[in-house]
Symmetry: C2
Subunit: 226 residues, 2 copies
DNA sequence: GCCCCCGTCAGCCGATCGGTTGATGCGGGG
DNA sequence: CCCCGCATCAACCGATCGGCTGACGGGGGC
């Protein structure tokens, strides 16, 4: 289906990102003031046009499908409902709409999850407006832009082996952060205590700790849990 | 010094919040887009004038002193330097400038710390613009406005005794969240293991948990730690 | 076909934790 | 002056944790 993704001078009928037709934007953020801010900021740029606003992930998915904007500006923290990563995944799934993540946090977990979900770029809200404009124009053409601190983290992550947990380890960690003991975790996940201990040991290794309290602390800090 | 705090029709020379002279606002937020958003949003209101912007707590304290705005719109999370609570404390100290907290989180700890620091109101960024305008006008006259969810939490807190920790308990909790064992915590704080255990027991009681992992989890969630 | 990763499980041991009871000293408010 | 909240410490006990070694099966990649 998708066929031609970008190219620069597609002779298509309607959505041709060129100096003639502005970049069409869909905003997604659960905070009214942030949406208003982006609206005002982007209003000053003649070649950028906001065609829609979404206050939730679900809304963004629907509007992205209906409006087919060039770029969706997506926050990762969306309060109720699906989070920004999931919304990004669904919107970016068919490859027609580019998602540019614009959020507050530059934690490893957020960045990698967003990129894995198919985000075209990752910017921080503290970024200078010029950077945002440039990133939007890049994203419209499918080019990736990362904030400087984000780029640093990505590079660092590429170098270091792997601080990523398996699905099962995340399950264990989730129970652990409820303060459950090994026996209770085992019961909750329908496995034996021995297995729980095995997983915990590996979690400690990966997070660089050696106690459950430390593991919970690191997990919360790196936002490895919902 | 302070003398007349508010009154409604002070015959003073310069700062008289009346329909004639607009409410003078100082913005404080470390995110450019948020400041831009507030600027745009408030620009639509004729009786509200933004007289300054600060990107850090320190800057806000200086500008509040120099510009003596009617209201400071203050975010609590400010990245580098002093946080919004500390900035609020310093600005609100002499009672001439009202601080209206406008932030993302409605956790108990944030709310109470902000109010204790002297904030005149507490709004969430997800609030409707009309609420924000109304709150600003109220704050200019020293009247308190709370977002609905914030008000609920405050009421709930008034009813329930006090999930607040003592200073020493917070010290213990901080060490605990580093994943330290009782012996290490004792050494770090120059007390005996027995004392650490005593404090921990009380912390468990107050947080409604019975393990160290659970305590760290609750502490992180309620933002009881820096 | 082999190997590696993932998830599962077992047993052992010393160290640590959580709960309990009880005691001391210091400071502030009634 | 007495009481209470806070911080400090002691000793004890059973339960739990963390580290270790070793094992098995299934799925994916080479």
């Amino acid at each position: 289906m998708t066929g031609e993704t970008t190219g620069g001078t597609t002779g298509g009928a309607s959505p041709a990102p060129s100096p003639a037709s502005p970049v069409r934007i869909l905003l997604c953020d659960d905070h009214v003031v942030v949406r208003a801010g982006l609206l005002a900021l982007l209003g000053s740029e003649p070649d950028i046009e906001v065609v829609g606003e979404a206050g939730s992930g679900e809304e963004a998915v629907v509007l992205a499908d209906r409006l087919t904007p060039d770029v969706v500006l997506m926050d990762l923290q969306l309060g109720e409902g699906i989070d920004g990563v999931e919304a990004t995944r669904r919107i970016a799934a068919d490859g027609t709409v580019h998602v540019l993540v614009l959020t507050t946090y530059d934690t490893d977990a957020d960045i990698t999850r967003a990129i894995e979900a198919g985000a075209t770029g990752y910017l921080l809200k503290a970024e200078r407006p010029e950077e945002l404009f440039a990133a939007i124009r890049s994203a419209a053409q499918g080019r990736t832009t990362l904030s400087a601190p984000v780029a640093s983290r990505v590079m660092a992550r590429m170098r270091s082996p792997r601080p990523s947990l398996t699905d099962r380890e995340r399950d264990i960690l989730a129970q652990l952060s409820q303060g459950l003991g090994n026996r209770d975790i085992a019961r909750a996940l329908f496995i034996s205590e021995a297995t729980v201990k095995t997983h915990l040991g590996r979690i400690y290794d990966k997070l660089g700790v050696d106690t459950r309290a430390g593991a919970v602390s690191v997990a919360k800090e790196q936002r490895l849990l919902p």
